[in-house]
């Protein structure tokens, strides 16, 4: 009987395929990112779309900047931006694209239309977001049920042009966002001024409501809309009628100046394309006093 034994031998090296590091590379439309079949890309209609919810810190457009040629599997860029790779997932990140709503984001929006049981809200995205009557806190207690009367007086809660802070609660199939204000933190914004900046400058962080040392509140919407207003103590115990008030409280001249200065600082930061957060605003605010003040 013959028994064959194999002695251990060095494993054949299969790594002859050259690994090219494509991350952090700048690409433009039509450029091949990778011919390597190991990489995946975000699809619009396939299951990988559900993966993208796990990568919240990437503000990417819906198609994530990549497309694949018919059958050869070559991944090409459809945007001008920088390649980012998470494990095997390739995406291209740009700086100028519009806001892409993701669940849980805090946004600042402006009511554009009052419709049947819903408001349309401009959130600097590819479509207006939808705020359902059922996803706001009605005055007179959190537990109050909505009635037909509420439907008839929707303009009393939010009317055209009102600015509000809200949270993205979901997206519809066509990509429109659904938002809600069912928390005392959210709701109508007043006593302040509005600033718009590119959405890529506002990064996700723990809180987007900031109280600056100069006595001014800043709401940094992830969609690039920012609200700067007079500091108000916690809204928790506020009378339910004042939540939807559209009248400004009396604001002192000093506060008005601070608000205007913070707004100008944010605009200056955006022009310089600097990331906007509470510390950068504070720095800019302090710096602005170095400059001459003309009355």
């Amino acid at each position: 009987m013959n028994v064959e034994f194999l002695l251990p031998e060095a494993r054949q090296n299969d790594d002859d395929v050259e690994m090219i590091d494509v991350s952090d590379k700048f690409v433009t439309p039509g450029e091949t990112i990778s011919v390597d079949a190991q990489y995946m890309r975000f699809g619009i209609n396939d299951i990988t779309i559900s993966l993208c919810k796990d990568f919240k810190h990437y503000s990417l457009s819906r198609s994530h900047g990549t497309f694949s040629d018919e059958k050869d599997g070559i991944i090409k860029s459809s945007l001008a931006g920088r390649v980012e790779i998470v494990n095997k997932l390739i995406s291209v990140r740009t700086v100028h694209s519009r806001y892409n709503a993701e669940i849980g984001d805090l946004i600042v929006g402006r009511i554009t239309e009052v419709a049947q049981k819903r408001w349309k809200v401009d959130i600097n995205s590819r479509q207006d977001a939808v705020l359902l009557l059922s996803s706001i806190n009605l005055p007179g207690g959190v537990m109050r049920r909505k009635t037909e009367e509420d439907e008839l007086q929707m303009r009393k809660f939010f009317s055209d042009g009102d600015i509000l802070a809200a949270e993205v609660s979901g997206t519809f199939q066509d990509g429109a966002a659904s938002i809600q204000t069912r928390s005392h933190k959210y709701g109508k914004l007043r006593n302040g001024s509005f600033v718009s900046v590119p959405p890529s400058l506002v990064q996700r962080c723990k809180t987007h409501f900031h109280v600056l040392s100069c006595g001014v509140d800043v709401v940094l919407g992830l969609n690039g809309y920012i609200w700067v207003c007079k500091h108000t103590p916690s809204l928790q115990d506020v009378d339910s009628e004042t939540i939807y008030s559209h009248k400004n409280e009396p604001i002192s001249d000093a506060t008005r100046e601070s608000i205007a200065r913070v707004c100008n600082c944010i605009t200056s930061l955006a022009r310089k394309f600097k990331i906007i957060n509470d510390s950068s605003i504070t720095l800019a605010y302090e710096e602005s006093f170095e400059t001459q003040h003309i009355d």
């Binding site: 001008a80 920088r82 400004n248 200056s268």
Partner: protein
């Protein structure tokens, strides 16, 4: 017909170019602060400004397409664009024609299915006109779309070519265009060389068509390289600016680098403060913004 000699015996054209030279191109993306994407491009003496807004909520309900984005294009000529001052009507047939050419060219290239029920607005303005309207409109639109971060399969580049005295010539200017010589505008996808637009209003000999189209294609590629370099530089600059901040967040460098002093030189407290709260929301922005410089002007 012009009595001018369009191609002299030395093989030089009226503006001193050789037959296969394109005009000097200079371009700059991100020139407007309010638009999502914008670009300014000069090809010789033809100058065009493009602004792209969107994808955004359609202004009219009728413009909603349920499976893809609607593209709308508006073309206008500045009154001072031509040698004779002229007010151009919005419904000028020529302008509408150019707009529809641009729209048709870009519809298959932009990934419109990613943005159902939304609209992409493209506004083009010719600031100075010296031939090649369609080509410059297409080139400016490509740059503005890329700047706006709208996904496209490839660069679209356009170039004109024609025949003068049986010699194929590239990138015609106004004098050459207004002579009787035949002219073809070709728009291709730079990478795959697929043709998205082929337009001609004059008779062209079949035998010379091949050479003319080939020449236009070479011109397109040259234009692509110029645009690509400009866009690449711009995107690198923007990322650089954004990330420089993260590293030096709290440092003195940042404070100095911010250079607010120049911005706030004209900071007038009075009108700004009043506007801040009393409903006029944009006054303070208007004071600090305004258009950035265009292409080295």
């Amino acid at each position: 017909m012009s009595r001018k000699e369009l191609l002299n015996p030395a093989g030089l054209r009226v503006d001193g170019r050789r037959a296969t030279d394109i005009r000097r191109i200079s371009c700059k993306p991100s020139v407007l602060s309010q638009a999502d994407g914008s670009a300014y491009i000069e090809q010789g003496n033809t100058k065009c400004l493009a602004a792209v807004y969107g994808p955004r909520e359609p202004r009219q309900k009728s413009a909603i397409l349920h499976n893809r984005a609607n593209i709308s294009v508006g073309v206008s000529f500045a009154p001072f664009a031509t040698s004779e001052r002229k007010k151009w009507s919005k419904s000028d047939k020529r302008l509408l024609e150019i707009a529809s050419f641009v729209k048709q060219t870009f519809e298959p290239v932009i990934q419109t299915t990613s943005f159902p029920r939304s609209q992409i607005d493209i506004f083009l303005q010719i600031l100075q006109f010296d031939g090649g309207t369609i080509q410059i409109c297409i080139n400016a639109t490509t740059m503005a779309l890329v700047d706006a971060g709208i996904p496209m399969n490839d660069y679209v580049c356009a170039c004109t070519a024609g025949v003068i005295q049986n010699v194929p010539i590239l990138d015609l200017n106004l004098i050459e265009e207004s002579s009787d010589s035949p002219e073809v505008t070709v728009a291709i996808l730079a990478d795959s060389e697929k043709v998205t637009l082929l337009q001609s209003e004059s008779r062209l000999d079949v035998d010379s068509f091949q050479a003319v189209a080939q020449l236009a294609k070479i011109g397109c590629k040259e234009i692509r390289n110029v645009m690509d370099a400009a866009l690449r530089k711009n995107i690198k600059d923007l990322f650089g600016k954004m990330e420089a901040k993260i590293k030096t967040d709290q440092s003195a460098d940042f404070r100095l680098g911010l250079n607010l002093s120049r911005r706030l030189e004209n900071f007038k407290a009075g009108p700004i403060i009043r506007s801040a709260v009393n409903g006029v929301r944009y006054t303070h922005i208007a004071i600090l913004s305004g258009h950035q410089n265009l292409g080295g002007k």
